[in-house]
C-alpha cells in the first residue's frame, strides 16, 4: 500500500506522525512522572508556536513574501477570540465557548489579512515586509490604548481611558488599555493544542499540494511567467496570505487562553522575528522543518537557562549565517563542489566493491 502512495501523501503522513508521536511521548512521560513543571507549562506555547511557524512558512516559503507582522495577526486573533470566550464562558459550556473563541479569532484575523493583503499584495517584496511590520505596530499601539466595556446598554468603546467609557454602574470593563484582558479562566490544554496543530497541518499541507498550491508556488518562482499562463496573481496571493493570517489568529487564541491575562505588548516585533527565526531555521518552504524548529527552539531555552542572555544574539547570528550559507552564489557553488566530490568518492568505492565481487 505504501508503495502506491503519492510522494506528497507519504511526506504529509510522516509530518503528522511526528506530531502524534510527540503527543504520545509526552503522555507517556507524564504518566511516569518524568515531566517537570516548567516543561509542562511550555506544552501549549509549543503548539501555538508550531502553528505560527507553519502558517508563516506558508507566506514566506510557499508564497515567497516576507511578512513581519505575524504577531499582529496573532494579536487581533487573541483579543477577539478571548473576548468571545470571556463573554460566552459565563453562560455557555466551556468547550462550546472555546470552539467559538477559536472560530472568532481565526475569522477576525482572516478579515485583517484581507484588509492588509488587498492593498499590499500588489506591491513588491520589500514593501510588503514593511507594511506588515507597520500593521503589527499599529495593532500593538491601538490595542494598548483600547478600552472596551459591557453594561446593560451594550458595548462601550474608547481610546482614552476607562472613565470615558461612560458605563452604567453594573458595567464590566472587558479590555482595560495596556492592562489588556484580565481574569481569563485558563482553558487551553495540550490535547487541544495538538488537535489544532494537526488541523493546521492538514489544511496547509493540502493547500500546498493542491492546484492552488502549485499556482502559489508558480507565482513565487516567476510572477510574470505565472501571469502569462493565466494564473490570477492577486487571488492566489491573497489566498495564501489570508490562510496564514487565519491560523496565526487561531494560534493567538490558543496562546492567550493558556494564561490568566492578555496584554497587547506580548505581540510585538520581537515575537514576529522569533517566528521568522523558526521558519528560517526549519527551512524556508519546508513545513515539517518549521514544526520541528518551533518545538525545539521553544524547549531549548528552558533547558539552557544559563545561555538566556545570549539567546537572541545566537538567533541573530543564525539568521545571517543560514541565509549566507543557503543563498549566496559562492556558497552554493562550494557546496555543489563538495557534494560532487563526496559522490565521486562514494561512487569509486562502490565501483571497487563491485569489481571485487566480480573477481
Amino acid at each position: 500500500m505504501l508503495k502506491n502512495m503519492k510522494k506528497s501523501t507519504k511526506s504529509n503522513l510522516i509530518t503528522l506522525g511526528i506530531v502524534v508521536g510527540f503527543y504520545v511521548l509526552i503522555q507517556i512521560l507524564g504518566a511516569v512522572g518524568a515531566l517537570t513543571n516548567s516543561f509542562s507549562g511550555q506544552l501549549v506555547p509549543i503548539c501555538a508556536y508550531v502553528i505560527l511557524a507553519v502558517s508563516l512558512n506558508l507566506t514566506v516559503g510557499i508564497l515567497g513574501e516576507l511578512s513581519l507582522g505575524h504577531a499582529g495577526f496573532m494579536s487581533v486573533g487573541a483579543f477577539s477570540g478571548t473576548l468571545a470566550y470571556v463573554v460566552l464562558s459565563e453562560n455557555a459550556p466551556q468547550p462550546l465557548a472555546m470552539l467559538v473563541a477559536f472560530v472568532v479569532g481565526g475569522v477576525v484575523a482572516g478579515l485583517f489579512g484581507v484588509l492588509v493583503g488587498i492593498p499590499v499584495l500588489r506591491l513588491s517584496g520589500d514593501y510588503l515586509a514593511i507594511v506588515t511590520l507597520a500593521f503589527g505596530e499599529i495593532v500593538k499601539n491601538v490595542m494598548n490604548a483600547c478600552y472596551l466595556g459591557l453594561d446593560s446598554h451594550g458595548l462601550h468603546f474608547s481610546l482614552k481611558d476607562t472613565a470615558s467609557l461612560n458605563m452604567e454602574v453594573d458595567g464590566k470593563v472587558l479590555i482595560n488599555g495596556a492592562m489588556g484582558i484580565t481574569g481569563i479562566k485558563k482553558a487551553s490544554t495540550f490535547a487541544v493544542g495538538i488537535v489544532l496543530v494537526i488541523i493546521t497541518l492538514l489544511v496547509i499541507l493540502n493547500l500546498v499540494n493542491s492546484r492552488a498550491g502549485r499556482a502559489i508556488k508558480a507565482i513565487r518562482d516567476n510572477e510574470i511567467a505565472a501571469r502569462s499562463v493565466g494564473i490570477p496573481i492577486t487571488k492566489y496571493k491573497l489566498m495564501a496570505f489570508v490562510t496564514s493570517a487565519v491560523f496565526a489568529g487561531i494560534a493567538g487564541v490558543l496562546y492567550a487562553l493558556n494564561y490568566s491575562s492578555l496584554v497587547a505588548k506580548k505581540f510585538d516585533y520581537n515575537t514576529s522575528i522569533l517566528i521568522l527565526v523558526f521558519v528560517v531555521l526549519g527551512g524556508i518552504g519546508n513545513l515539517r522543518g518549521s514544526v520541528i524548529a518551533a518545538a525545539v527552539l521553544t524547549v531549548l531555552p528552558e533547558l539552557l537557562r544559563s545561555m538566556n542572555d545570549y539567546r537572541m544574539l545566537i538567533y541573530a547570528i543564525v539568521l545571517i549565517v543560514v541565509m549566507i550559507f543557503n543563498q549566496s552564489p559562492e556558497m552554493i557553488a562550494l557546496r555543489k563542489r563538495l557534494t560532487a566530490r563526496f559522490r565521486k568518492e562514494g561512487a569509486d568505492k562502490k565501483d571497487a566493491k563491485e569489481k571485487k565481487g566480480v573477481a
Binding site: P119, L123, G125, N141, V142, N144, A316, M323, I324
Partner: protein, 294 residues
C-alpha cells in the same frame, strides 16, 4: 502660537528622519535592498557620542566626528560581510539577513551596555534657547541646530551626487547596475561608498536625535529607523530631495498628531500614512515610475 511651536518641533524631528531616510533611500536606490540595520547603526553612533562626549568629556564636534568614523567603518563592514555575498540572491534572503544584522547590533549593544536607558547629554547643551514674540515662542537650540545641520547636509549631498564622478557613478549604478559595470564603474566600491555616506549621516542623525529625545537604549534606533523608511517611501524611494521632503512632512504629521489627537496613537498614525501612500501613490511624492519588463 502653540501650533507654531508644535510645527517647528515637528520640522526638527522631521529633519532627523530626513537624515536617516537619506541613508535608506541611497542604499535602496543603489543596492536595491532594504537595509534594516540602518536604525541600529544610529543607535551605535549615539552610544559612541554618549561615551566620548557625555562620559569622557570630549569636544562635542570631535565626538560626533569620531562617531561618524565608527559608523562608517561599521556600515562598510556590514555591507562587506553580510550583504555582498548575497548581492545576486533573491531579495527575501537579503531582507532576512538585514533583519539578522539589525538584531545582532541590538543584542551586542544590550550585552555590552545593558538595556537600562542612559540619559544622553545634549551635544549643544551650552547654547541658549531662542525666544521670540516676547517669550511666547521658545525654540530650543537643539531644534535650530538640527534643522540647520539637515539643510547643510542635504545641499552638500545633492551637490556631491550631481557634480562629482563618484556621485555620477552612484547614479549610474542605481539606474542599471550591469550597464554601469560594463562602462567601467566599480560597482562594489560605489555600493561601499553609499553605505559609508549613509552610515556617517546616521551618526549625525543619532547625535541630534538623542539631543532632542535624551534616552538612549539598545532599541533607540529601531523605531526612528522604521519611521525614516516610511519617510523615504513617502517622498519616493531612491530620491534624495524626496527623502528630505518625506522626512519633514512625517515629522510634522507625527508631532501634530501627538499634540492634537493622541500620544499613544501617533505611531499608528505615522504607519497609516505609509499604508495610504502605498495605496494611492506607491512611487511616493517625488519618485520615478519604474516599468517592469519581461
Amino acid at each position: 502660537m502653540q501650533f507654531l511651536s508644535y510645527l517647528i518641533n515637528g520640522i526638527s524631528l522631521g529633519s532627523v528622519y530626513a537624515l536617516i531616510a537619506l541613508g535608506y533611500t541611497m542604499v535602496y536606490g543603489i543596492a536595491k535592498m532594504l537595509n534594516f540595520a540602518h536604525g541600529d547603526v544610529i543607535m551605535i553612533g549615539s552610544y559612541v557620542v554618549f561615551f566620548a562626549f557625555g562620559s569622557a568629556g570630549m569636544n562635542p564636534v570631535l565626538a560626533i566626528v569620531l562617531s561618524m568614523v565608527v559608523c562608517t567603518v561599521l556600515g562598510v563592514t556590514i555591507e562587506r560581510v553580510a550583504y555582498r555575498p548575497l548581492r545576486e540572491a533573491p531579495s527575501l534572503a537579503v531582507l532576512i539577513t538585514a533583519i539578522g544584522v539589525s538584531y545582532l547590533l541590538q543584542q551586542v549593544a544590550q550585552l555590552a551596555w545593558s538595556s537600562n536607558p542612559k540619559s544622553f547629554t545634549s551635544v549643544v547643551s551650552g547654547m541658549k534657547p531662542i525666544s521670540l514674540f516676547d517669550g511666547q515662542l521658545t525654540i530650543s537650540a537643539e531644534t535650530v541646530v538640527t534643522i540647520i545641520a539637515c539643510v547643510i547636509i542635504m545641499v552638500a549631498l545633492i551637490w556631491f551626487v550631481n557634480h562629482t564622478s563618484a556621485g555620477h557613478a552612484m547614479q549610474a549604478v542605481s539606474e542599471d547596475r550591469g550597464a554601469a559595470q560594463l562602462m567601467g564603474v566599480n560597482v562594489n566600491a560605489t555600493i561601499s561608498l553609499t553605505f559609508a555616506i549613509g552610515s556617517a549621516l546616521a551618526a549625525v542623525a543619532g547625535a541630534l536625535l538623542c539631543s532632542s529625545y535624551p534616552t538612549l537604549q539598545p532599541t533607540t534606533g529601531a523605531m526612528p529607523g522604521i519611521k525614516a523608511f516610511v519617510a523615504a517611501v513617502f517622498g519616493g524611494i531612491g530620491s534624495i530631495p524626496g527623502a528630505f521632503l518625506g522626512g519633514i512632512l512625517l515629522g510634522i504629521i507625527e508631532n501634530l498628531s501627538k499634540a492634537y489627537i493622541s500620544t499613544q496613537l501617533s505611531d499608528a498614525i505615522v504607519f497609516l500614512v505609509l499604508v495610504v501612500v502605498l495605496i494611492v501613490k506607491p512611487t511616493g511624492l517625488l519618485g520615478k515610475k519604474v516599468n517592469v519588463k519581461v
